[in-house]
Symmetry: C2
């Protein structure tokens, strides 16, 4: 299943070298705590290219837009074909169309989504368990991607910039955390995204004042002293896409 | 010059009905004070379609992406061809690709820009002077667009939503006002964009506290009492596009 979208793409290269073609790619972010790691890291799935151009290099999941499907549907389909992932929604990131970004002329519409680790496990069959990843799919920490195919390093840089600049507390809590979470867990999410440590006291104050968190009566117990669990405030909009949001692709799981 | 891009587009419809083609469109906002109007209104240029589909309807300026030009270059070229406008930069708004948005399959990458009225006059030969507009170009107030071709009403709605939600003080001051301006002029810009009146005292307080305005020693005199002129704070970023900003199309006039 990994090779379908990639193979199709390369077959078409020869047929339509004189036209501009439309492709879709997807940036999926999730958090993954490696055994022994103190903090979780931001990771994303990559797919190895099995044909030229860039055979052997890793690339974002994606493929060609079919003439009879919408842009988001195409991104969703090719993501599922290459990685098995089925996010409840994808958000359009940007259209990349530089003339020299591929040997033939390709405009790529890029989508992105945040996924919780348990969603990834349920959808992709447990990427975290060693040896279960398909041979041509790999989850990589965002600061260790290496040289990707095409302009995909540039695309990831832009996605990270958007994630770091435009995403509010509520959105990240909903996208990467379980329904309830401690403030320390929320802080770890932010530290992973920003790539730096945050002062716990300052973070707690900002989070509590954000209006997007609601304290519950539950506490998480364990090796540390009990920590209160918070939940996401449903009154704060998750991903306001404005008038484009009138036709959701399918029901969102606002659990 | 108005008909070149439109005509080319329609000629190709028959040739490539089995492929997905890429088009570009542009949303240009400016402010225009009609004779006798108390406040300026937000207006945008539309181009009348001279062929099917949607012959006779008004549409956003645009045309087909050439295989040898970048997305922003194509948007810039087709905007100039249809309206004579040459903004110093365009920002990518969104890629529209619904299957049924055109009789043939077309993905439109939409760009947008804010222009000052004096820039429009200099570039397009003075749209405000009655009778000088090309027959197939019209500047229309955004709340009186009527039924546009294709999904262009939806595109304008999205552009307005982005303008109203995401644009900061400094950006609007730079995009729609002269180098120096009074707080009343700045408020009128906001009123035109938001489509409602704002309380002058509240607005003044917020503007002065925004950090994006610098008071000058100059005053505007006229029929009212002298009003201090402000300028835009150059230290506040104009349009932070993140890592995509490393290759500006051409020099920006940060006057």
């Amino acid at each position: 299943m990994t090779r379908t979208a990639i193979g199709t793409a390369d077959t078409r290269d020869a047929e339509h070298s004189d036209v501009t073609r439309v492709a879709v790619s997807t940036v999926i972010f999730t958090l993954r705590r490696e055994p022994g790691d103190d903090c979780p890291s931001l990771v994303m799935p990559l797919v190895r290219r099995t044909r030229d151009p860039h055979m052997g290099l890793w690339a974002l999941p994606g493929g060609w837009l079919d003439i009879s499907e919408g842009l988001e549907d195409a991104a969703s389909r090719t993501l599922a074909e290459t990685t098995g992932l089925t996010p409840s929604y994808l958000e359009q990131l940007y259209a990349f169309g530089a003339v020299d970004r591929s040997p033939s002329r390709v405009v790529s519409i890029v989508y992105w989504a945040l996924l919780r680790a348990d969603e990834v496990d349920a959808q992709a069959g447990g990427y975290a368990a060693a040896g279960t990843e398909p041979e041509n799919v790999r989850w990589v920490t965002v600061d260790r991607l290496g040289h990707l195919a095409f302009d995909h390093n540039e695309i990831v840089d832009y996605a990270l910039w958007r994630l770091r600049n435009k995403v509010g507390y509520s959105r990240i809590a909903h996208g990467l955390l379980a329904d309830t979470f401690t403030l320390a867990e929320l802080r770890e999410v932010y530290e992973a995204i920003l790539g730096r440590r945050l002062d716990p006291a300052n973070f707690r104050r900002q989070a509590e004042n954000s209006g997007s968190l609601i304290p519950t009566d539950d506490f998480r117990t364990g090796s540390h002293r009990p920590a209160r669990l918070y939940r996401y405030n449903q009154d704060v909009e998750l991903a306001d896409r404005g008038p484009l949001d009138i036709r959701p692709r399918h029901e969102s799981s606002t659990s």
